[in-house]
């Protein structure tokens, strides 16, 4: 059966309230940006010792969510599992928005964003041994592919959508592994340095992306009065549990490899230093153990509540994982000339959480959420409710909008 998709009416009080709140949140981005630009990066928590802060944590988190969402979207168009079709448009749309958000984070983090074009000045004639240059090419092509993929889905060009979708999924994998390689190939930062890092990034992207799709599907379907197919959510929950196993193995191998060598001080710092709680409570506790318990327990794995709690836990845990990489990884001093010059003053640093950096992050998250909510109103993303199919087929006419 041809599935139809509709826009939501978006005239309820709750909808307007949500748009207003997110709009106000987006204003924070403008205010935060002006203050940061005029005063300089001193208003953030970053320093010579910890050069990457909240914005970079959000940046890698959003890239992961985007890649995860796109890979999940491939289940229907690329692998032809029609069972997942109701969430495909949602997943691709979110993939685009999250990537846009990630670019906002890195753009603002530059400090002087007007200089961003220099990365693209010579494009592939740049220094192609730099992971930043390679990733800039990945990101531009990835954004273009995603927009094209969504357009093909909207236009119901299935054959082309399958081809472009396949390409997009391969590219999404490259994008996130490339982002992992930015960290994994920094030899002088022992907590980052690992050949497994790109794969670990990919596994974390898949777990957080799947969790986000589960939570967004539940949220949007519930608030727009659509039937939530329990089997679909439980199936995604089952997929999530396998992805968490993969992530667990990769994290274990990565940390044990670092732990094996005599120069294990950095990983000991990660386990028991200033940021032990980021690693143990968030990355391991909320990112792996709690969701695994919920998803393998015979009672909770069969309930939507159990799966949604597990997804929420993964979302928070993977964010903690990103923070547990960036903050301890940069806080631990580098050994420039061991015994003579030991990093910046030779001691680990603490990253302060500052108001303006936090407001900037909140502003960008609000802006992306605002675009998502407005997208539901102006684009045919959600599947039609039962009995709405005919209205939805007419929904391609902008004058005939089905109610949502």
């Amino acid at each position: 059966m041809q599935r139809s998709y509709v826009t939501i009416e978006g005239k309820s009080r709750g909808y307007y309230l949500l748009v207003t709140l997110l709009g106000l949140g987006s204003v924070l981005l403008l205010v935060g940006f002006i203050v940061s630009y005029l005063k300089g990066q001193q208003v953030w928590g970053v320093s010579n010792i910890i050069p990457w802060g909240q914005l970079i944590i959000f940046y890698i988190y959003f890239i992961g969510l985007s890649a995860g969402a796109i890979i999940i979207s491939s289940l229907s168009y690329v692998l032809k599992w029609d069972f997942y079709k109701p969430i495909t448009r949602l997943a691709v749309f979110m993939g685009i928005l999250l990537m846009l958000g990630a670019m906002f984070f890195v753009f603002v983090d530059l400090g002087r964003p007007e200089k961003f074009w220099r990365l693209f000045a010579y494009y592939f004639l740049n220094n192609m041994t730099s992971m930043f240059v390679i990733n800039s090419i990945f990101y531009v092509v990835y954004m273009t592919l995603m927009v094209f993929y969504l357009w093909l889905i909207f236009e119901n060009k299935k054959r082309w959508a399958a081809i472009v979708g396949t390409l997009d999924v391969i590219w999404a994998i490259s994008v996130h592994m490339g982002t992992g390689a930015i960290f994994g190939l920094i030899g002088n930062r022992e907590i980052f340095f690992s050949p497994i890092k790109p794969f670990e990034f990919l596994a974390a992207a898949l777990t957080s992306g799947t969790s986000l799709i589960i939570l967004t599907t539940l949220g949007t379907f519930k608030f727009t009065g659509r039937n939530i197919h329990k089997d679909l959510i439980l199936s995604l929950g089952n997929l999530l549990s396998w992805l968490i196993y993969v992530l667990l193995v990769l994290v274990f191998v990565d940390k044990m490899t670092h732990f094996y060598f005599p120069g294990r001080d950095p990983v000991l710092y990660l386990f028991a230093g200033n940021y032990w709680w980021l690693f143990w409570l968030f990355q391991i506790g909320m990112g792996i153990l709690i969701p695994l318990c919920l998803l393998i327990h015979p009672r909770t794995k069969r309930t939507m509540k159990g799966v949604s709690f597990a997804s929420l836990s993964v979302m928070i845990g993977v964010f903690g994982e990103r923070a547990a990489l960036v903050l301890p990884g940069t806080a631990y001093p580098q050994h420039f000339f061991p015994g003579f010059i030991e990093g910046m003053w030779g001691k680990p640093e603490i990253f302060p959480i500052t108001v303006w950096e936090s407001l900037l992050c909140l502003g960008i998250v609000s802006y992306i959420a605002l675009l998502f909510v407005l997208g539901l109103k102006f684009l045919e993303i959600l599947p039609a409710r039962e009995g709405e199919d005919m209205a939805a087929l007419e929904g391609s006419n902008p004058l005939l909008k089905a109610s949502g």
């Binding site: 940006f33 002006i34 005029l38 102006f378 684009l379 902008p398």
Partner: protein
Amino acid sequence: MAEPDHCFICYFAIGLLQVVNALVSEELKMSLRVVAIAIEVIILMAMIYCFFLGLKLTLSDLGLQPRYDRFLKLVLTTLGIFILTFFIAHLILFYPGIIP
């Protein structure tokens, strides 16, 4: 190295600026700078508007249906607001004084 030759008009202009500088108060100088920044922001935003309109028309020419127009307009409007904020911040920080 030889001194560059200045014509009479150059000397006259420099002298005139020095006279104006002595006469004009700091507040007026600041106000002039604000006006100049506002004019430059308007010109830059007009250019950005033309660029975005061109982008929208190009997409229409390439076959993008009118049903996507509202969302596209919305995204471009919000991006325009961010660009406007950037121009204001950038010019406040780097715009030179009108009168030396």
